[in-house]
């Protein structure tokens, strides 16, 4: 029963493309190559010629765009929202996470997510459930080097696939920063990140994109609704509950210290997100193009919706509002991006705009938790909206509202999406709690009050951002 997959790794692109209606040029290329190889047996360049320079060009670019989302994008978006005495601490957290995750990904975390050599297949060659391979990858890709990562992954170099996925592993814990900003110890942030990437991110990534559990269930997540956003958002909620409120919250107003910086960061997130979503196709093809289009549409719609909600409720639309709405739209379209069509994306944007607006304003204020920068309200809530609506609007049978996926049973798929969301919430919630508890009991999560009032920039980093 334990047949190793051997030379046919199940990379996410392929897993996901399995249910797209437009197999596109990949199939065509495969056919060509097959013919070529048949015709010219033994030609030395047969394997090399599988690389597609166009796909590779786009994926090199996509990696750059996704890194751009975290630094400087997210760093500015979050940095602008905090008070001026904490801006550097947020930038440091984004930078520190970027560095740390890169190192761990190189040493072992990539292997835990994407080494599929331990996957178990049945006689028909289909991957089947097994322990632990349905939860975590193998160890054959630890200490990456030209010998274990020097080849291709589909039509692109595996090194590029490694880098692209690395940027996802970077931004996910960086998103969590929004929840505990302005009060958590820098050392605790780094330790949390290191453990969390190992026991939460890499496994969930493996389960969704590496041939693990959720992919066996048939969950659809084009670019990371569960892996990135629900994951980050749930960790954020747990973190802000465990770290506690900022001193003075909610009585003292804590307005953004630099809204222009925040809006700049949001714009960069928007721009970079095309690498995230259209890049997740791992190719420069028709599906990537449609992913780009629906990303733009859903984002614009969500931003516009959030703005209109404010206009109606408070009489005035705000810059922080439109920027936050854009992020909510980006989050919601993420899992859907390779599957839905433009009009479906309009609906997803509309729903995400309204729901996240309510979550980040009314609900948060009602419940009174201090999710400083709304990492939960935007990423978990938006991610859930997107993951569920993916199950509906992916279907290619909805007229102008059609997506691109054929043969989809909407009710069943919606059920699968619900199950995948619930599983992610559970896995992430429990582990995040345990990790944070452990840190709290040892080095402590939080700076002391005097340091908090002085600001983390001076108290943790001996710097102040502005000497104007």
């Amino acid at each position: 029963m334990n047949i190793r997959q051997g030379a046919k790794p199940s990379y996410p692109g392929q897993v996901r493309r399995a249910c797209t209606v437009l197999p596109g040029k990949r199939a065509a290329i495969a056919a060509v190559i097959f013919l070529a190889v048949m015709a010219l047996p033994g030609m030395a360049f047969a394997q090399d010629s599988e690389i597609d320079s166009g796909d590779t060009a786009w994926m090199l670019t996509s990696m750059v765009l996704v890194l751009f989302m975290t630094i400087p994008g997210l760093a500015l978006f979050y940095g602008g929202l905090v008070r001026s005495k904490n801006v550097l601490s947020v930038l440091m957290q984004c930078f520190g996470i970027t560095c740390l995750v890169t190192i761990l990904w190189t040493l072992y975390a990539y292997s835990l997510a994407f080494d599929d050599s331990t996957l178990v297949t049945n006689e028909a060659g289909e991957t089947v459930f097994a322990f632990p391979s349905s939860f975590v990858g193998g160890l054959s890709k630890v200490f990456v080097n030209p010998n274990n990562i020097g080849g291709l992954s589909g039509t692109i170099p595996e090194s590029v696939f490694f880098c692209f996925q690395l940027t996802f592993a970077i931004i996910t814990p960086a998103l969590v920063v929004g929840a505990f900003a302005e009060r958590m110890k820098f050392s605790a942030v780094l330790i949390f990140t290191g453990i969390w990437v190992t026991v939460v991110y890499a496994p969930i990534c493996h389960m969704v994109w590496g041939g693990g559990l959720l992919s066996l269930w048939g969950a659809m997540d084009f670019a990371g609704g569960t892996v990135v956003h629900i994951n980050a958002g749930i960790a954020a909620l747990v973190a802000c509950l465990m770290v506690g409120k900022r001193s003075g919250f909610p009585k003292t107003p804590m307005p953004p210290h630099n809204v222009a910086m925040c809006v700049t960061g949001a714009a960069m997130l928007w721009v970079g997100w095309f690498g995230f979503n259209a890049g997740s196709q791992l190719a420069a093809d028709i599906t990537a193009g449609m992913a780009m289009l629906v990303t733009q549409v859903a984002t614009a719609m969500a931003a516009f919706t959030w703005m209109m909600c404010e206009w109606i409720k408070h009489g005035k639309p705000s810059a922080v509002g439109i920027a936050t709405g854009a992020v909510a739209g980006l989050v919601a379209i993420t899992p859907a991006s390779g599957y839905v069509g433009p009009i479906g994306a309009l609906v997803i944007g509309l729903v995400a705009g309204v729901v996240c607006f309510v979550a980040a304003t009314t609900v948060k204020n009602a419940l009174g938790y201090d999710d400083s920068l709304d990492a939960f309200g935007v990423h978990a809530v938006g991610g859930i909206v997107g993951a569920l609506l993916t199950g509906i609007f992916a279907a290619n049978t909805l007229g102008a509202f059609s997506g691109t996926v054929a043969d989809i049973d909407i009710v069943k798929q919606f059920g699968i999406q619900c199950a995948a969301v619930a599983f992610t919430i559970l896995w992430c919630g429990v582990w995040s709690f345990l990790i944070l508890k452990g840190i709290d009991l040892t080095i402590g999560l939080r700076v002391d009050e005097e340091e908090e009032i002085e600001g983390l920039d001076i108290s943790l980093h001996s710097e102040s951002s502005y000497n104007l």
């Binding site: 909610p250 107003p253 307005p255 953004p256 404010e310 408070h314 005035k316 705000s318 922080v320 509002g321 936050t324 607006f357 980040a360 304003t361 009314t362 948060k364 204020n365 709304d374």
Partner: protein, 113 residues
Amino acid sequence: MKKVEAIVKPFKLEEVKEALAGLGIQGMTVTEVKGFGRQKGHKELYRGAEYVVEFLPKMKIEVVVPEDLLENTVKAIVDAASTGRMGDGKIFVSPVDDAVRIRTGESGDVAIG
């Protein structure tokens, strides 16, 4: 010698400056301050959290004048800075014992000429 301290609305600064110049006053010192008073602050709004900005931007103009110019100075400021609306500001007059011009070391009225 008296110090006249006027707290005015920022966009009145230019007019006050010109009114003082009209009296032959050649020097003054200006500070950005925040005022709290009867004038209501505006509210600001961030992600559904409303809060009121109670401290409003004002300009403090300090000018030290010889006693004989005092009355005109105050009058000129009142005329220039008044809009008739809440928050126009205040003028405070207080005694100054002496003034020194750092460049020359001169003191007394001549130092503020």
